[in-house]
């Protein structure tokens, strides 16, 4: 028998299609806190024209048994339409956006701009002593850029958390 106490952790990016109703986010978040599951990031927004459906993207980690539990627990919530484990179910695209504020003068400004260019970060606000960069990409790319900005004058970061979608024609809403 497989040992239920096995401790090999894996990451999972889970997409959940839900009714866009009051309290649905509290239900999902309460499920995670109540049962002791991790949430590494969580995003939510309505995704259809008449705003009846929302899509929640959750990045979590756990043993295979725990991640199977998370999916089953999510799936039995009454307003949940579909649950998909994007990590398990084939190739997918995951993206995150960040707004990154860097404060500095002189050579630091030039270095920040050079690095932003290399990372394809856009300048969306500038003053004589600050920039706000907008950057989209995989989480690791954002981490790398933010790390480089640290010694240059990183002042503030705002990140969206991961949104993700399966590659190819199939999907949650099809």
């Amino acid at each position: 028998m497989p040992d239920p106490s096995e401790t090999t952790l894996r990451n999972a990016t889970i997409a959940v299609l839900v009714e866009n109703e009051a309290g649905i986010l509290a239900r999902v978040v309460g499920l995670f806190s109540g049962r002791g599951y991790n949430i590494e990031s969580l995003t939510v927004a309505s995704v259809d024209a008449d705003r009846r459906l929302s899509r929640i993207t959750i990045v979590t980690s756990g043993t295979d048994m725990v991640i199977e539990q998370i999916k089953a627990q999510l799936d039995r919530l009454v307003p949940v339409h579909k649950v998909s484990d994007l990590t398990l179910e084939g190739p997918h695209i995951a993206r995150e956006m960040a707004l990154i504020k860097v404060v500095g003068r002189g050579e630091h400004r030039m270095e920040a701009l050079r690095l932003a260019d290399a990372f394809r970060a856009r300048v969306v606000d500038a003053t004589t002593e600050s920039f706000v960069f907008e950057m989209t990409g995989a989480g690791e790319k954002l981490d790398a850029f933010i790390g480089l900005m640290q010694p240059i004058g990183l002042a503030e970061v705002s990140r969206t958390g991961v949104v993700a979608i399966a590659r190819g024609p199939g999907g949650l809403q099809s």
Binding site: D3, P4, G23, G30, Q69, A72, Q73, R76, V78, P79
Partner: protein, 597 residues
């Protein structure tokens, strides 16, 4: 304003309270259990002006939910509760969690302050949907009267379909007073919640192949079989007899398989029988139908039934592979699954190894000879086991339809061990949450549903005091519930654990300053009896059973009796503690085990 409930519904306008009552009636509701208050006055006004739905006034909102649970569990219908906002709703929470843990279909209507006051800390305001979110299967706050009827219909669907559970509908007062359209229950399928009930035939065939090849099989059946309806219990019995397999039931499943049957091993788990637990430990193929590998059943997980292939049939996919990894998973209704297993068993040509099964039964019969439930009734002090056993035997002599509820603790386990159940829906106990104070209000709900039946709450002297106010409800509605108290002057299960695990330091577990239960009964217009001598026991039980009204029978039992067999926390099935003087290993409890409850 006409509050007359109409049977034929066309699109018409009513006030919110009338919409709620009409929807209840259209969903077959005949009785609700409740307690009035400011926020639900419009509903009570509408109730007053109709006769289709009977209201039972309880003395505490927690009891309303347990009464609805008792009603639901003994009838298979949805139990309905009506309470006011704020403290009415918060008092109901324990009952809701109880129903959630035991998968009981209950709808709880809660009053709420008017929508424009929500969030303003108004008088008797509580965030009911917030508080009850983890206490319910689902909940609703109705803010638009146009959606009210639809929400009530949907609540019934959610409460009873899939794995059943409690549903709260929070009703702001302005919604109850305002006018809106009534609509009948929709015919279309629910947008998102459509639980699978039909089992996958591929999995059924895989299960049957495993079971046919088994040399040491066991069937382990739980509350899911009861919840599926009486037909599922009939099919379970048919399957077990067809296959000549041993069968054990969980605490929640008692009655799913007839206890007097030769193939029944008794209850399994922490206070299960020696033979049931050793059969589980030694089996090579296990079929779990409608049970959830609860920690009270498995004991130490990594030592649970170590050499078996496991088949798990459950209507809730999240119960599968939660605690125990299984080899064949069947998602579906217990009755449908059992019917499919029987059909496939007949169709599958592979022969059963009958010689191996006979040898397996010889091992089991060997364990049975240990007579783990044996006790010695000597002298004048009544053994609690003896009291329950005599209650069972004398109840059978009456030939009456009998329903048993319990509180929580040692008496509950003795009731499970010594009272036999031949049919489903006759046994109501708080299994998952373990709620002291459950038994009396649950018995009320059962008696309301079955006015002519014998309804007995097997209680402890500590538990019964947790909802003793319901004696008033028994009196008001002339409910002839019998309360059979095993009075050992201790919170017995706490005392037992303190004795076995905490060096006999009986911290706060003595039942100090108990009431005189005879006078207490009399002050609530009931009959009280006290029994202290073993020689008086049978006569007292007969007198209680024959009495036409409610009775409290206060049975003074041995104070230091422990409930055995017992799998200590953190131990495995084959490390059971048996009663003194019986054979079997005595396991030491480690600190790791003490952490477990």
């Amino acid at each position: 304003m006409s509050a007359t409930l109409q049977t034929k519904t066309e699109a018409r306008t009513m006030n919110g309270a009338e919409i709620v009552l009409q929807a209840l009636k259209d969903n077959g509701v005949e009785v609700i259990f409740g307690y009035p208050g400011g926020a639900v006055l419009p509903l009570y006004d509408a109730l007053f002006q109709q006769n289709a739905i009977r209201h039972i006034l309880v003395r505490h909102e927690q009891a309303a939910v347990h009464a609805a649970e008792g009603y639901a569990r003994s009838t298979g219908k949805v139990g309905v509760v009506l309470v006011t906002s704020g403290p009415g709703a918060t008092n109901a929470v324990t009952g809701l969690v109880d129903a959630l843990m035991d998968s009981i279909p209950v709808i709880c209507l809660t009053g709420q302050v008017p929508t424009h006051l929500i969030g303003n800390d108004a008088f008797q305001e509580a965030d009911t949907t917030g508080i009850t979110r983890p206490a319910t299967k689902h909940n609703y706050l109705v803010k638009d009267i146009a959606k009210l009827a639809g929400v009530v219909h949907e609540a019934f669907y959610v409460a009873k379909s899939g794995r059943p559970g409690p549903v709260v509908i929070d009703l702001p007062k302005d919604i109850l007073i305002g006018k809106g359209p009534y609509s009948e229950a929709p015919q279309a399928a629910h947008r998102s919640y459509r639980p699978q009930t039909a089992p996958d035939m591929g999995q059924i065939r895989a299960a049957v192949r495993l079971l046919k090849g088994a040399k040491r099989p066991v069937v382990y059946a739980g509350g899911g079989v009861i919840n599926s309806g009486p037909e599922a219990s009939r099919l379970l019995t048919e399957f077990v007899r067809l296959t000549n397999m041993p069968c054990t039931n969980t605490l929640m499943g008692l009655g799913a398989y007839p206890s007097e049957d030769r193939q029944f091993l008794g209850m399994l788990g922490m206070h299960g029988t020696y033979e049931a637990n050793l059969t589980m430990h030694g089996c090579d193929v296990m079929l779990n139908v409608g049970a959830r590998f609860d920690d009270r059943v498995t004991g130490r997980l990594n030592a649970f039934s170590p050499n078996s292939k496991k088949i798990h049939a459950d209507i809730d996919p999240s119960s599968i592979n939660k605690n125990v990894k299984v080899d064949v998973a069947i998602v579906g209704d217990a009755g449908a699954t059992l019917a499919a297993l029987i059909e496939c068993w007949h169709a599958e040509e592979m022969p059963q190894d009958k010689a191996a099964i006979d040898a397996w039964w010889r091992s089991i019969d060997g364990w049975r000879r240990n007579e783990c439930l044996q006790y010695r009734q000597e002298g004048s002090i009544i053994k609690p086991q003896h009291a329950v056993k005599r209650l069972y035997e004398l109840t059978q002599e009456t030939g009456r339809e009998t329903y048993i509820t319990t509180e929580v603790g040692q008496h509950q386990m003795w009731a499970a061990q010594y009272f036999g159940f031949q049919k489903p829906n006759r046994w109501m106990t708080s299994g998952g949450l373990g709620t002291m104070g459950y038994g009396l209000p649950a018995a009320m709900g059962v008696q309301i549903a079955h006015p002519d039946a014998l309804v007995i709450d097997i209680a402890g002297e500590a538990s019964i005091l947790m909802n003793i106010q319901e004696m008033g409800t028994l009196a008001q509605y002339r409910l002839p519930v019998k309360i059979f108290i095993l009075n050992n002057e201790y919170m017995g299960m706490v005392r037992q654990w303190q004795e076995l695990l905490h060096g006999s330091r009986y911290s706060e577990s003595y039942s100090q300053s108990l009431p005189d239960f005879v006078k207490l009964a009399e002050s609530f217009h009931a009959t009280g009896m006290r029994v202290t001598e073993a020689s008086q026991l049978d006569d007292a039980i007969r007198e209680m059973l024959a009495h036409p009204g409610p009775v409290i029978a206060d049975i003074a039992v041995a104070k230091d009796e422990n409930c055995f067999p017992m799998i200590p926390s953190g131990a495995a099935h084959n490390e059971m503690i048996l009663a003194p003087g019986q054979q079997g290993g005595v396991a030491g409890v480690t600190d790791e085990g003490k952490v477990l409850v």
